[in-house]
């Protein structure tokens, strides 16, 4: 048995190392290591609560708006503040812009280039995958960068810039939209829809949304236009490599809900373990038994969480804490959001194969199709002469929380304010859930579970004695979660 250390991973946001025990080409154990600590929770202590809006987006350059929205929600919760309809819509548009740009970036820049690796050059599908998805040189990269940049013009209009905007406030947004800007937003959305329909899906978004089972998806793939699309291209590779059997994690999913429409989320809050359950977030605990952390004797709810790093903690192997819901490991992300919200395709796929490399990617692409029409409807509902922001005073001694869904899954901020200053600010990010270490019971986190029992194909000539330094299966599994390591530890 050998313990192999793999890292640094790229095409993930931030720093990641994975350690594996491998026996005869089978992964028998896995440890996920978040190797960078910056200490935002410590930085925030003693600050004016409103200053969180400057600091927290800078936790992460790819989930920047998500961090802003979580903080604004937490501050609104402290103030008992509800944004006016325009403020709610504008926040949704800004957040959806980031989340969809992230899904697109993940698919084209982070995930697909691994199929253009030399390790696959003997596969019949390789030449096409190489031409299309090769990192930097593939035709897809050259097409998607301009499309993504144009889509992000919504940020210029609604949020000033991306990343790191201060437009998102507890009471709404700072940027009121005039009639001409409303039409610009709709034009940009139209152009993005064209890109998706022509390039990513080869079909109307509505037809993707309507796929309601694994069979329907197989039938859809029979269409020549589907087959030629990038989504179809991926599904063919996924079939050839049986990606639905790779990277299966536990069967527990969680979503905090996101995109409020008059307060009711477009994607609902809850958990899924074969049935839908309400989410009782008072049962969230963070465990530090295997983290490089100290001074917290037992798992704590984030309101009472302590973040004091320590390289000397005896069982520690990562800067990441281990969040659990009622003691359970939760997988979060697009697949969790869509299974919780009840999309029939994702419910069917999860019932057949749990979560896995293929279906995490399908859920993300489905979500792009689902959210663009919602964005179009939101933009049309903007009322230019009406307010975008409400205002209230911040109490001096109060506690509150903000929970939302970032591209990568459930993001929560919990803060306590004393004498008008932040007493404690605790953040649990999506990848904190997915890439958590073991807890005090020794139960591994979601990625660790997904890696264990993976069969490595060696150099794909059947010669397992020749260990690959970077097993490609491990890379697919890791990247299928679209990890954000800078959020994970913050």
């Amino acid at each position: 048995m050998s313990r192999r250390i793999i890292g640094p991973f790229n095409r993930v946001e931030g720093d990641l190392e994975v350690q594996l025990s491998i026996e005869d080409g089978l992964v028998t154990d896995a440890w996920v290591v978040s190797s960078l600590y910056r200490g935002f929770e410590q930085i925030l202590q003693g600050k004016d609560p409103m200053d969180a809006l400057v600091y927290v987006p800078r936790i992460c350059g790819i989930c920047s708006v998500s961090q802003s929205v979580a903080a604004a929600n937490a501050l609104a919760n402290l103030q008992g503040l509800t944004p006016p309809p325009n403020g709610e819509i504008a926040t949704n548009l800004i957040l959806a812009n980031e989340n969809l740009a992230d899904h697109l970036t993940h698919f084209y820049l982070f995930f697909m280039p691994d199929f253009a690796r030399d390790v696959y050059q003997k596969e019949s599908w390789f030449p096409a995958a190489h031409a299309r998805f090769k990192a930097i040189k593939g035709t897809a990269c050259q097409e998607v960068l301009p499309a993504r940049a144009e889509f992000l013009h919504l940020m210029g209009l609604l949020a000033g810039k991306w990343p790191h905007s201060l437009a998102i406030q507890p009471g709404g947004t700072t940027r009121s939209i005039e009639i001409q800007e409303k039409s610009r937003i709709l034009s940009i959305l139209f152009s993005f829809r064209q890109f998706l329909q022509q390039t990513l899906f080869g079909d109307q978004l509505e037809n993707i949304i309507a796929l309601d089972s694994a069979d329907a998806l197989s039938n859809w793939l029979e269409r020549p236009e589907s087959s030629r699309s990038d989504f179809g291209h991926f599904l063919h590779i996924a079939d050839a490599l049986n990606l639905e059997t790779l990277g299966r994690a536990g069967e527990q999913f969680m979503s905090y809900g996101v995109y409020p429409e008059q307060g009711n989320p477009l994607f609902s809050m809850g958990t899924w373990n074969g049935t839908y359950n309400e989410l009782d977030h008072s049962l969230i605990r963070e465990d530090i038994s295997h983290s490089w952390m100290k001074f917290q004797n037992e798992p704590k709810h984030p309101f009472d969480g302590v973040t004091i790093p320590s390289v000397d903690s005896p069982d520690g192997y990562t800067w990441c804490k281990a969040p659990r819901l009622n003691g359970q490991v939760m997988e979060v992300g697009a697949i969790a959001r869509q299974v919780v919200n009840g999309h029939p395709l994702i419910r069917d796929l999860v019932s057949k194969n749990g979560s896995n490399v293929r279906d995490r990617v399908i859920a993300r692409l489905l979500e792009i199709a689902l959210v663009v029409p919602a964005m179009e409807a939101w933009a049309k509902a903007l009322k230019p002469k009406e307010p975008f922001c409400s205002h209230a005073k911040l109490p001096d001694d109060v506690e509150g929380y903000g929970m939302m869904e970032a591209a990568r899954g459930s993001l929560g901020h919990w803060l306590k304010v004393k004498n008008g200053r932040i007493l404690n600010y605790q953040i649990i990010a999506p990848t904190t859930w997915n890439f958590s270490p073991r807890d005090a019971e020794g139960i591994p986190g979601a990625l660790e579970q997904a890696l264990i029992n993976t069969r490595l194909q060696g150099d794909r000539k059947g010669d397992l004695s020749k260990d690959e330094k970077m097993p490609v299966e491990v890379q697919h599994i890791v990247r299928s979660f679209d990890p954000c390591m800078v959020c994970t530890v913050h």
Binding site: I6, P8, N10, D15, R38, G61, Q142, G160, S176, V311
Partner: protein, 337 residues
Amino acid sequence: MNECEQPLNLLWLQSGGCGGCSMSLISAESPDLLRSLQSVNINLLWHPSLSEQSGSELLELIQKIVAGEIKLDILCLEGSVIQGPDGSGLFHRLSGTQSPMRDSIKELSLLSDHVLAVGSCAAFGGITAGGGNPSEACGLQYDGSQSGGLLGKDFNSKSGLPVINIAGCPTHPNWIIETLSQIAMSDMDMTGLDEFNRPRSYTDHLVHHACPRNEYYEYKASAQKASDLGCMMENMGCLGTIAQADCNTRLWNGEGSCLRGGYACINCTAPEFEEPGHRFDKTPKIAGIPIGLPTDMPKAWFVALASLSKAATPVRLRRNAVADHIVIKPLKKIKDK
């Protein structure tokens, strides 16, 4: 440009930051990032978001650079240098190895023709050095506004230049591409750098230039709360009149800037912007007069002009300044009343 010359090898590393400068960079437009790099004859040896090579493949690449088998022309660091805990650097270990990232950054900086700090974290420590600076973050050649940092104040890269600090949080894509272009054309020398070794191509300007709220500024018609249209200098913490950057003449994401987004400039290209000593969105005042007035204007003159212009403020501006949309439009002629 440079078609007959060897392309310049660029290695991009990240340490104690958020990756936001990379995310901003890949949003480059007209032309997009890949064409921009081609146009300035840059060969991307490795970038964390874009390159295929991962793990051992990157470690091998670094070894080849160290061994002199691959020439390193430009090293870009994004994110602060992490020195903690207790100076050990272990808060950021280079994944796949046991050594602090800091050590690799230093080793490669000594080998590279040019060293670029991308973003305020890599330049000065930035947001990661906020609060009590729990990770002991610093910049490549600055620790806040003090020169020194990881490489020391006397460091010059093999080109003879100090670390070029492309400060900003995040950086505008063009600030990076244009700096690379200057390097590729051998147009970069000390005269192109300001007092903090930032490229003067963008820091010779003020964020205030082309601020769409400048008419409100002229008449001191001030916003009072978030989403108001008025000037944000008097009450809302805006530092655009002292912040050195061209954010309002060179827009972000097609059509934006902080000011255009309706919120204050927090002077993110400056060292120590992360600790202004007051709430970011409130202007600190002494006897009702904002501190931090334009630096190169005598204060008495500013106060005198401000009170004069305030007395002359048109009703249109006074009313619009505290509204979230235009309530009085410009008229050809307003009758005195």
